[in-house]
Each structure stands twice: as C-alpha cells, then as structure tokens.
C-alpha cells in the first residue's frame, strides 16, 4: 500500500513558556515563543517514518488559523512533510473549537485522497483532545486514540493505544484516524538545509468560507484562571508514616492501584 497521509497540526504556545491569565481574565500570547504542538510533532514524525519505509507516498500537513500560523507549517515542512495547507479562518480563529476544526478538516478531505489521518491526541493549550474522534465520526472512519505504537499488519494497521490503566491493541483495516501520544515516535530535529529547502515546498491557503463550513463555535469559554497555587509540602519521619499519609489522601485509589 502506498497512501497519502494527512497530519492536522496546531500552533501552540511553546511548552517551556509559562502562560498567565491577565487581570482582565484573558490569555495574551503576543510575542511569546510559539511551537508546533508536541503531540502533533510525534504524529508527523510517525507519518514521515511511514513514508520513508514505503508505506506512504506523501505527507501533507494542515492547520487552521491565521496567515501568521504558517510558521508551524514551515517547521513541519522542514521536518520533512511534502506540502502544507493553511485553512484561513480569519476573525473566527480565536473562537474555533474542536468541532469546527474537525469539520474544516473533513471538508478539506472531500477533494483529496488520503488513506490515513495521523494527529496529536490533544493540543497542549486547550487540552480538549476532541478533533480526532470528531473527525473520525464525520468521515465514518475507524479511530484509534492515544496511540503509542503503530505498525502495518495484514494490510491494515496494528495500533497500541494506552494509558495508565492498560494497553489496548487494535487491528484496523482501511482508512483511519489515529491520534498520537508522546510514545508514538521521537520527533527529528530540523536541520539548517531543511529550513532553506522548506521554503521551496508547496504551501497553499484556502479560505475557510470556501469550504462551506459554519464556524460558529458550539462551545464557549466561561472563564479563565490560573491553576491554584500548590500547598506547601510536609515532612514525614518514616516510610510507614509516608504510606499512611498517602493512603489517607487516597492517592493509591486515584491511580487505580487499590481498586
């Protein structure tokens, strides 16, 4: 099989930046370091590996947002994607939610022949993690979320999806939507020549309006606030006291160790 892979990506505040809520209750990212969402980087890396092993023939990256958001597409092209698509969502951009993004991506896919969608399991800014499942539903494709391993097997995909509670192995045939966690692949570094080369690669912009998707958000932000400050730690005098204290705070139940 030799398929085209679509990797939808998001531009987010760099993971090393501490985001603050302003006095007016907003988050201002002007001038802050922006990055390709780390989970999307893992998805892209896996897509590139599938292309390099001959499973895929072409990797397209796509993002929804403003022209300024092309910078993460350039990063993705420098990592090795073949071409890039910006869906310009104009003034609607700040209010876009997972469902709007999923519909935009689905609309884009109508005119293209993709055999796999690989994306991050969530964006590190909103942490919603909704796009992959919604997109799969809109396309009528099978989905595998939070994938830590992905292999070609029996003409389909063998996907290991996991979390703290355990790992599920899925066999999926045909086109699918698979979302990556950080274990799926270790992203490669961009190199100086690849940055220069990326400038020559195709990057097209589509107006969101032309895709016929209503961008009115179906969810809204009620309020933003900083996380509560951490309470100071305590000192215990023995291992027994430590276990007692942890048990008293029901820590073991929370991780499912005593259930």
């Amino acid at each position: 099989m030799s398929i085209r892979i679509l990797v939808p990506v998001k531009r987010v505040v760099d993971p090393n930046v501490r985001v603050r809520v302003s006095a007016t209750g907003a988050i201002d990212t002007t001038g802050l370091k922006m990055s390709l969402n780390p989970f999307d980087e893992c998805a892209l890396e896996k897509a590139l590996q599938l292309r390099e092993s001959g499973v895929a023939s072409h990797v397209t990256v796509l993002t929804c947002g403003l022209p300024a958001h092309q910078d993460v597409l350039r990063t993705a092209l420098a990592m090795g994607a073949d071409d890039a698509v910006l869906i310009d969502t104009g003034p609607a951009t700040p209010a876009l939610d997972s469902f709007a993004i999923a519909r935009l991506v689905a609309a884009h896919m109508k005119d293209a022949d993709y055999g796999l969608v690989l994306c991050g399991k969530q964006a590190i800014d909103g942490d919603v993690g909704g796009v992959a499942a919604m997109l799969a539903a809109l396309l009528g494709w099978p989905q595998a979320l939070n994938a830590g391993a992905l292999d070609v097997m029996d003409g389909g995909w063998r996907v290991s999806c996991g979390e703290d509670a355990g790992i599920a192995n899925w066999q999926i045939d045909g086109p699918a939507v698979i979302s990556a966690d950080l274990r799926l692949a270790e992203p490669r570094r961009v190199t100086l020549p690849s940055i220069v080369k990326a400038k020559q690669k195709p990057l097209v912009t589509h107006e969101a309006a032309a895709l016929g998707v209503a961008l009115a958000a179906q969810s809204r932000v009620v309020a933003l606030s900083d996380p509560p400050g951490r309470a100071p730690g305590i000192q215990v005098t023995s291992v027994d006291a430590l276990l007692q204290t942890l048990a008293g705070q029901r820590v073991f139940e929370a991780v499912g160790a005593c259930s």
Binding site: V17, R18, K33, R189, V190, T191, L192, I195
Partner: protein, 395 residues
C-alpha cells in the same frame, strides 16, 4: 516592623553575590528579597561565558578578579562543596581585516599590559585549538587560556547558600512594592510580606530597575533587551569541552560560541537585540528564518555546520544601558541607597567582583576598583564607557 542593616532587592547572580560579600565583610543583619526564586530571572538564561577580554579597561580589572573567584570557587566561598560548573576551555577571539582589527589589537595589548596571559595565534595554531573552524579570513586571533564558561544558576545558588550560612536571610516570593523615605534617605522597604526598616538598600533589580526609578523619582537609563540563543547539533564536527569559547568579530552578528556538551554548539549574536516594552523573562518567538540566517553565519566559520540540526533555542533578556556598561554606586542625592544595574550581558562574568564592590560601597568601605567611571551621571556628562567594538555585549 523588623529592621535590617542591609536589604538587597533581587536574588539573581548579582544580588546573591552582594549578600555573600556583605556577610563575608562582616555585615550582620542582611535581608535579600526576590519576587520569584533564587536565580530564576535573567540569571537562569545566561550563556555563562567567562573571559577577561574587554575593550573597557575597568571591565578587564573586574573580570580578572571575578575570574579568580570562579577559578577558585570553593576556596572563595570557603565551602568545599561549592562548584560553579567551570569548564576552563579558554577564549579565542578573531577579527578579519576591517574596522574591528585595530580595536582587537588594542584590547589584546591592554590585557597583556595588565599582566593577563594572552597569546596571539596564527591560523594553524588557531585550527589546532579549534579544528572544526576555518580561519581563512582571520587577520588577528587572540587566545586567553584563563577563560571558559560556567553555570550562572549554580553560581547564584552557591552565593545564596554561602550567604545563608553566614546568617543572611533570603526571602523568596516577596515583592518590594515601595520605599520608605525620610527626606533624601531610604530607611525601609514595603513588601508583599510586610515592612522592613533598613540602614542601606542595595538594588540589584536588573530589568526590573525601572520600578526603583519610580520609587525614587530619578530616571534610570536601562531597557530590557531580548536575545536569542541556539543550540546546534553536528555529529560530524562536535564542539567539545576541549575547544575554546569563541568570538567571531568578522560575522555580521558578532557571534559568540561555546560547547554545549555532547555534539552541540551554543551560539548567539553579540549585537543589539530586541527591545521589550516591559520587563519580562518569558520565552520570545524565534522564527525559522532567523535560525537559518544565524545558521548561515555559523556555517561561514564552521563549515560542517552547514548541515547542522537545531537541537533547541531559547531567549534571554539583558538589562541594557545606553553605553552597554553597568551603573554602580549611588544615585543622585538619595542617601542609604546603592545600585547595580545595566549589566548589558556581562553581569555573570563580573558577578563576584561586582558583588564585592557593591558590598564595599554599601558598607562605606574603599572599593577595590573605582566606581567613578560607572557612575550614573556619566550619561549626563557624556563620559560614556562605550567599548571600542561599538554597542553590544563585548564592550
């Protein structure tokens, strides 16, 4: 209201050095307050270069005494466990024909006149020390063996530990919100954790110095300027700890380089950066175009880096004055106040020496080096300390 003989604002590498030196010189009731945590502001973003090469003579003097402290750090702090993470790889600086050549020759001569060991290298000798670089255009290459780089965060925490051991109190997460004055004299500070009386206030507020300017009603010429640092990876030509830190006066960005461990090089521009509207140390955006542009400059000197990978990138902020040199000492007619600000990218290199000078000034003792050239009124009188390389962090 508690009373301290000395209150230091800022627990970066300068503030903690002041605190250590105050205590070491016999001061007893010393309080340091920091709005965040020790060394977490601009200190944590330092590239850590140590050299005595300056075109401004006073800076050479300060850098020399500071180098001695870094090179004998455990003895200097009287703490056998103290380490500044020193990598003593030396410092190489080179210039092609052109406007940087004479200033370099003069600065190297001045260092030699002051008894600092400086070697002039021909291209072959330079290549032997730095086999990954090409020196085809080099007209003059200087090398100082007593130089290298260290870890600014380790230094700040070590100074803080020494200060605490000597009885200094360091309060983290405490913001100073205003001063208490009696006429021209500063007699205390208002903070988010209460009011403290003080005999002398020492401000080492770095990019937050404009707050002090407001409190005392005296304009202080300092601006936050953001600079970008790249870590480039090149397995074909690793920049090892044995290779000197390096200054390339021939590159458009007057780049400086050092090993970043493994097969990585740390590189940054030594020219004017991006002025920020407000003091903040948050990470700024770094475009791929910028990476490519600096990368092309790097490859001009280090050919194998033509294909280097970008391992990481970050930004740091300098507290820059109009002549890229610090202001040290008193401010106007304000009594009970000692300031140190505007380190313009050389704060870390000079931190032991400057901490001692500011402590001496606050204690009313003679200072090891005259503070007169660093006085605030130089910006009014025009006796600027601008280095011979122009504006930028060589000075």
């Amino acid at each position: 209201m508690s009373h301290y003989d000395f209150v230091v604002i800022g627990a970066g590498v300068i503030g903690t050095s002041v605190a250590h030196h105050l205590a070491a010189l016999g001061a007893e009731r010393v309080l340091v307050v920091d709005q965040g945590t020790i060394g977490a502001g601009t200190t944590s973003q330092s590239s850590g270069l140590l050299r005595t090469h300056y075109s401004v003579r006073q800076n050479v003097e300060l850098a020399r005494s500071s180098w001695w402290a870094f090179n004998n750090f455990a003895d200097y702090l009287e703490d056998a466990e103290a380490s500044c993470g020193l990598v003593k790889c030396g410092y190489m600086i080179c210039s092609p024909e052109g406007d940087k050549l004479d200033p370099l020759a003069a600065a190297l001569r001045a260092q030699q006149d002051m008894g600092i060991e400086v070697e002039l290298l021909d291209r072959k000798e330079a290549e032997a020390r730095m086999p990954i670089a090409a020196f085809d255009d080099a007209a003059l290459i200087g090398f100082e063996p007593e130089a290298g780089f260290a870890d600014a965060y380790l230094v700040a925490t070590s100074f803080a530990r020494s200060a605490r051991r000597r009885g200094v109190k360091i309060a983290e997460g405490v913001r100073v919100t205003g001063l208490i004055r009696e006429g021209r004299r500063v007699v205390g500070v208002e903070t988010t954790a209460g009011t403290h009386g003080c005999g002398t206030l020492i401000s080492t507020q770095n990019i937050w110095t404009p707050e002090l300017a407001q409190w005392i009603g005296v304009p202080l010429p300092v601006k936050p300027e953001r600079h970008t640092v790249l870590a480039l990876e090149c397995e074909a030509a690793p920049y090892t700890f044995a290779m000197p830190a390096f200054k390339d006066l021939g590159s458009p960005g007057m780049l400086y380089f050092r090993s970043y461990g493994g097969s990585q090089m740390l590189v940054s521009e030594g020219i004017v950066g991006e002025t920020l509207n407000a003091p903040e140390t948050e990470q700024g955006d770094i475009s791929l175009d910028y990476v490519a542009e600096v990368g092309a400059q790097v490859a001009g000197r280090f050919p194998a880096y033509d294909t280097a990978g970008l391992a990481s990138s970050w930004t740091g902020v300098y507290d820059v004055t109009p002549d890229w040199n610090p202001v040290l000492g008193s401010v106007a007619d304000v009594e009970g106040l000692t300031v140190g600000f505007g380190f313009s990218g050389h704060g870390f290199k000079l931190s032991p020496g400057i901490g001692k000078l500011l402590a001496q000034h606050a204690l009313g003792l003679p200072t090891d080096v005259s503070l007169e050239p660093y006085a605030l009124d130089r910006f009014a009188s025009g006796a600027l300390l601008t280095g011979k390389y122009g504006l930028g962090a060589v000075s």
